[in-house]
Amino acid sequence: MVYFIFRRLGLAALSLWGVATIVFVMSRLIPGDIAGVAAGRFASAEQIEHVRETLGLNKPLVVQYWDFLVHAVHGDLGTSAYTHQSVVSGIGAVLPATIQLVVCGMIITILLAVPLGVLSAVNEGRGGDTAIRLILVLEGGVPVFWLAIMLRWIFGSILGWFPISSTNSLNGAPPHVTGFSVLDSLLFGDFSNVLDSVGHLLLPAIALSAPFIATLARNVRSNMMSALKSDYITFAVSKGVPPGRIVIHHGLRSALGSTLTIAGMQFGWMVSSAVLVEAVFSLPGVGSYMYHAIVNHDTFAVLGAVLIIGFVFIVTALIVDLVQMSIDPRVRNVQVGVA
Amino acid sequence: MAESLIQVRELSKRFGVRGRAYQALDSVSFDLRQGEVLGLVGESGSGKTTIIRCLVGLEKQSSGSISYLGKNLGQVSASERRRYRRDVQMIFQDPYSSLDPRMTVRQILEEPMLVAGGFSARERHDRILDLLHMVGLEEDHLHRYPRHFSGGQRQRISIVRALVVGPRVLLCDEPVSALDVSVQAQVLNLIKDMQKELDLTVLFVAHDLAVVKYLCTRVIVLNSGRIVEEGPVARVYGAPQDAYTRQLLEAVPIPDPAVERERRARRLEGTVRR
């Protein structure tokens, strides 16, 4: 068990190094003179030369790579060419907002996808199943950013039910403490603050969760279906276990393992989709940060964001695996090695 | 005593690493002699299949040696290795997965000859047809795909595939355990006939002691990767020396109600065990 935890930690570290390497390679892919790009469009030859030196671009590639890794380990991903702010602190300031959005999207996803998948699997081949699958296919094909625009237009502009941008109304913003607006409101604001924060979060979270609901529900469906077809379900039926208990206690319990894995990976994918949603709703977050960096050709900021999102992804996967190891007897027994 | 074709010496095989290692074979030594049908019996996990897989090179032994005609296979030249591959063929347990579903029967049967080399088109055709008729299949089966055949027919095709290159040794890994009883008898008879007709040496792995008794001349009993008993079938079955062999033999049900009832009564009264 301990061996496997260490092995898993080692793998995570290896992945982090890999992500950093990929980002480094990407940073050298930029066509033309990196220093020229970094110094800005109107920089003089001297300024470019200066930038070249500060970035260490005149050193051999291996040394640059090493410097990059050392800096990255120390939490230094360079300086944004646009805001002239450290990339890490820039992203650090907005990361909580993104995490909050993703967690909210995740909750919506799980709340909808699990029941839908279960219902669909239980009714396999019948009308209900077909209807759910059709809805999922339609909803899974909708591009997130377009859905975000449409939701904002319909529920924000036409119906006026929800605010159309930002995390809080001007007078509803709580002091910035944790960066999680809902949490901050809970800590310092009154109930209307909380409501305001949640209201601002709802539309983006719904838009964000759409494609993930489809993926997760389909995954739950197929896991449930194979669970429901297994011998142990037949055995449970033959023991006189009522259908409700069969589905929840036997089916869902054993289908949950791989659902958890998928949900964990979705967390990472959601962080990347947040780029699109945040751009639409002009929410401060890693996504908006990345979007503005792209628009401003701020390559180091873009790559910094890539690295951070990769980091979040790896850490989530690590946590999910460790959780799974501790709750699933199948995995646990393999670890312990009992035949 | 007949010439020894394959000599297995101190064969050991471990799977896995460090704390989780599992000893599948533990210094197994035996000879496979010209013309005999040697049975390897044991329960699941006894290592019987691992022996066969080491013999055909699908598994690499952890230690020990395998020699063919007196030459250690670990040190032979490439041409001798080719000869071994041609002389030693194998039949698998599962007739459903041992034939490539995307090939016609003709392609499946020609392949070993093409790989081994040295067969003209005419020869290939003739050999396939000869063997096909011997196992009771027809020429027009040749252009069909495996999915068109029943389990028993597929196992016959597997037998032909193993025999087309003219091997001296046939290794059988539980070839009938996946078949229905009525089909099982046909395939057993077929292996028996082919063995006589083609003067084959057979290593027959099985968990069913009755099948081994019907087919084999000599038997090796394996338990957890070790040989516990070895000898001519009549002797081992008639007077087993090892306690494990005796347990195995006693557990085989006999299709005779009177005998079985008596045996059970004896068991239940003699032991309030476990």
Binding site: V19, I22, P143, W146 | L58, R82, Y96, S97, P101
Partner: protein, 320 residues
């Protein structure tokens, strides 16, 4: 054929050897694969649209056929020049002249969607084809290589997969500069590792089947094993994966374009059309709405078709 071969899914097979679960590759390879039979275009058409295919699958294949046709003929069918601004006709609502309205510089939305179809759909197909090719080649090479090299290649794939593909593609495309080529390169770079990983898994499973082992015993070289047995028997699963990928690729491409890393203006791209229209959505909803519908329709059509291909390849799920 024996009776048990025809049992519906879920019913137990009584054959002693069929107990336990049937593996992915095994299901795809030894079962009667309809993808493998019916050679030629006629056979393909019968497979896809024949009476035995489910209605929903036929609809999906029909939609995909229509979409691909539109992609090929888009520029010809477009009633107006998609890139010609006409300030006199800016932001016109859908009507008899401009069926889907015009954008802020007076370009015909329908014409732009039609030309955009060519670009989006063809590049999506190309991306998936390239990513699959690279993935299959890498996976096959890894399967043939010594174990340590195999391990290294797979670890590299894992590392690529540790960055969500949208972000990876975004970073790459941003670094390479806005153009259709850089989007294609970025997307292929982001997608191939997953395909390679999957293909390696399928190959590994196929390689353990008894028919491969029996070829190994006769002394067949590993290269020939791959080419003769392993790859052909893995193809179904690879096709299925590829066909499922197209839908996601379309959506992701449009997302990249939406963020401004796609083909530079004035090129008609569905994603950038939506981006362009979002600022005046309250007054001219049609500029954003219709390209979005086009993306959704394409994604759904290709998604359904992918599902259909899977159900054709896997008889045990042949039910709709």
């Amino acid at each position: 054929m024996k009776t048990e071969d025809k049992l519906p899914p879920g019913l137990p097979s009584t054959h002693p050897d069929r107990r336990g679960e049937v593996s992915f590759a095994y299901r795809f390879s030894t079962a009667t694969s309809p993808l493998a039979v019916g050679r030629g275009l006629g056979g393909l058409a019968r497979r896809l649209f024949g009476a035995k295919t489910f209605l929903i699958n036929r609809i999906a294949f029909g939609l995909v056929a229509v979409l691909l046709l539109l992609a090929l003929l888009g520029p010809v069918l477009a009633p107006y020049d998609p890139n010609a601004p006409n300030t006199n006709a800016a932001l016109q609502a859908p009507g008899a002249v401009h069926w889907l309205g015009t954008d802020d510089v007076g370009r015909d939305v329908l014409s732009r969607i039609l030309t955009g179809a060519t670009q989006t759909l063809i590049s999506a197909v190309l991306i998936v084809v390239f990513a699959t090719l690279i993935g299959v080649i890498v996976a096959s090479a890894a399967a043939l290589a010594p174990r340590w090299a195999d391990e290294v290649v797979m670890r590299v794939c894992d590392m690529f997969m540790s960055i969500p593909s949208l972000v990876l593609a975004l970073g790459l495309a941003a670094a390479l500069g806005p153009s259709l080529t850089s989007i294609i390169i970025a997307m292929v770079a982001a997608l191939w590792p997953a395909t390679a990983r999957l293909t390696r898994g399928i190959l590994r499973e196929t390689m353990t089947s008894a028919y491969i082992e029996s070829a190994q015993i006769v002394g067949m070289s590993r290269l020939r094993l791959m080419v003769r047995h392993a790859i052909p028997n893995s193809l179904d699963a690879i096709y299925v994966h590829a066909s499922m990928e197209i839908s996601g690729t379309i959506v992701m491409m449009s997302g990249l374009a939406f963020l401004g890393v796609g083909a530079p203006p004035p090129s008609a791209d569905w994603g950038s059309m939506i981006a362009q229209g979002q600022d005046f959505i309250t007054t001219a909803w049609w500029v954003s709405l219709f390209p979005g519908l086009a993306i959704t329709l394409s994604a759904v059509a290709f998604g359904l078709a992918g599902d259909a291909v899977r159900s054709l390849a896997d008889p045990s799920s042949r039910r709709s």
